[in-house]
């Protein structure tokens, strides 16, 4: 492999995994921006969408139809989560909300264990998601290209949404000053529900791409992605949507870089090295790349 090919190969790997982290991190960032809630149960929405898709495919539905219903199921699960678990806590302490997100996680994961058994099930993605494009030494997974393209489309749509629509601008307004937002007549409950709906929809998409990537689904599959998304949004600056995206690609890049550079004896400990670099980064920029200091009043 020529150095250029190697670079291209690794770049695609990094952007592809970074894209999945980005779609997850956006959901965390949107909710945190308004509610100051780190919703760890966000990862379980991945699991919900993937299981629904898998079960429908088992019933003979074509992949695209099953995937659409799976994504819808994630979205509805996210809306329900907000309504049942978080709305009653409006105005409660941040710690109470954080603990609630842990209980939601424990509830959903155990529900999945009861319904689907704790063992993993194979996830047979359609051939196009399993295809490999070979050009000389270069081996590019079709799934990677699709993940990148889908993310690009979703990011564009999201940007238009938060820049152009009343609800999108209201979402930014509410994350900057929720009291002023209420005084202007912004329906904060609706804005929060919209943030959950969009974040959950993105999580549903991630679920499919993730399941196709690892080839299986299991009740605890949401843990790793949500952890990575959390780290990504901390790198970028908690609560900032562009920050979450940047942080996700930085994290993806670091992982792939270390995967390539570390001696093979150390690659199992890759994440330890990644997190060590993050700790160093946060020592210099405690609020993340785009994070602003808590606004001081003049």
């Amino acid at each position: 492999m020529t150095p250029l090919e190697l670079l291209l190969q690794q770049l695609i790997n990094a952007v592809s995994i970074g894209s999945l982290y980005a779609l997850m991190a956006i959901g965390l960032a949107m909710v945190f921006g308004i509610l100051r809630l780190i919703n760890f149960a966000h990862g379980d929405l991945i699991m919900v969408g993937s299981y629904v898709t898998l079960l429908l495919m088992g019933l003979g539905l074509p992949f695209l139809a099953a995937a659409a219903v799976g994504i819808a199921a994630s979205t509805i699960a996210g809306l329900l989560m907000e309504r049942v678990a978080y709305r009653p806590l409006r105005g409660a302490h941040e710690i109470s909300m954080l603990l609630t997100s842990f209980s939601v996680t424990i509830f959903l994961e155990n529900l999945a264990i009861i319904l689907f058994r704790p063992t993993s099930r194979p996830f047979n993605a359609p051939p196009i998601l399993r295809s490999i494009i070979e050009r000389g030494q270069l081996r590019i997974a079709g799934l990677d290209l699709i993940a990148i393209a889908v993310t690009a489309v979703l990011l564009l749509g999201l940007t238009l949404f938060v820049r152009r629509t009343d609800t999108g601008i209201a979402m930014r307004a509410a994350s900057q000053d929720i009291l002023a937002a209420r005084l202007m007549g912004i329906n904060v409950n609706r804005v929060i529900a919209a943030a959950f709906a969009i974040g959950s929809l993105l999580a549903g998409v991630v679920g499919l791409l993730w399941s196709a990537r690892v080839g299986k689904v299991d009740p605890l599959m949401g843990f790793n992605p949500v952890l990575k998304a959390f780290v990504a949004s901390v790198i970028g600056g908690l609560g900032s949507i562009p920050g979450a995206v940047i942080g996700a690609y930085v994290l993806g890049g670091l992982e792939i870089l270390l995967q390539g550079l570390l001696p093979s004896a150390l690659t199992p400990f890759r994440d330890a090295f990644v997190f060590a670099i993050l700790i160093a980064l946060l020592l210099f920029r405690p609020n993340g790349i785009l994070g602003s200091k808590e606004r001081e009043k003049i």
């Binding site: 000053d177 002023a180 937002a181 005084l183 202007m184 007549g185």
Partner: protein, 240 residues
């Protein structure tokens, strides 16, 4: 008209308002005066539904405000321009104004209101694409008032619009308050700048420690020895 009757408000065990009765008739400009912590902002927060009275009644025309949500209250045309400006710093001037009009269905009227806001504050028009955080303090106050006007207020609650601003900007802000009053907007103005507030108001109330201790028309308040002594006899401070 706005009518508060015997309103009691508590923050935990601390009583912020005690048996406060205030009224503002249609088209009136009424000012609420008093020292820091007297309960002036609390009274406005109660009217806009952010804090709830423990007892007493609050009515706007035929609607019971004590039972309404902030969202519903904005829908009635009762618009609160809060202390400290609280514009959306990350949003552009245009987006801030758009958020002021978010409850409105009459898009065309909202557009012409935006032109009106720009005619009141031409500097906002020049800075329409800048984010709120990049504006000066005076411009931010203008934006805060402009944002409130975009909601087409029937009752405008203005909380300390002159706070921390240079004398020239204060003059500008009060010129606009006078202009809004002339156009028939009903205004409840909270101020610490007593001289300026009494200059534009029809009537006023003085709050201290959560109670109304004094009320009357502009002439009555200006002639009151306590007001005279506490606020009006001093020469205006130089170089604020």
């Amino acid at each position: 008209m706005l009518a508060l009757e015997s309103v009691d408000i508590f923050y935990g065990h601390v009583q912020a308002l005690a048996a406060v009765s205030i009224s503002v008739h249609d088209g009136e400009l009424v000012t609420l005066l008093g020292a820091n912590g007297a309960g002036k902002s609390t009274a406005l927060m109660a009217v806009s539904g952010i804090v709830r009275p423990r007892s007493g009644s609050m009515r706007w025309n035929d609607t019971d405000l004590a039972a309404a949500t902030p969202y519903a209250i904005v829908g009635l045309g009762v618009i609160h321009c809060p202390e400290g400006r609280r514009i959306f710093g990350g949003l552009s001037v245009l987006e801030n104004l758009r958020m002021g009009a978010i409850r409105r269905k009459d898009r065309a009227a909202a557009r012409s209101d935006m032109e009106y806001v720009f005619s009141l504050f031409p500097v906002l028009s020049e800075r329409r694409h800048q984010t709120g955080a990049t504006l000066s303090g005076g411009e931010q106050q203008m934006l805060a008032i402009g944002r409130a006007l975009m909601a087409a207020p029937r009752l405008l609650l203005l909380d300390e619009p002159s706070l921390g601003l240079a004398p020239l900007v204060v003059k500008e802000i009060f010129r606009v308050i006078r202009e809004l009053h002339r156009r028939g907007v009903t205004i409840l103005l909270v101020e610490q700048n007593v001289r300026q507030a009494l200059a534009v108001a029809d009537r006023g109330y003085v709050l201290s420690s959560g109670r109304v201790t004094l009320s009357g028309t502009k002439a009555e308040l200006c002639a009151n020895p306590e007001i005279e002594q506490a606020y009006l006899s001093r020469a205006p401070e130089a170089g604020q």
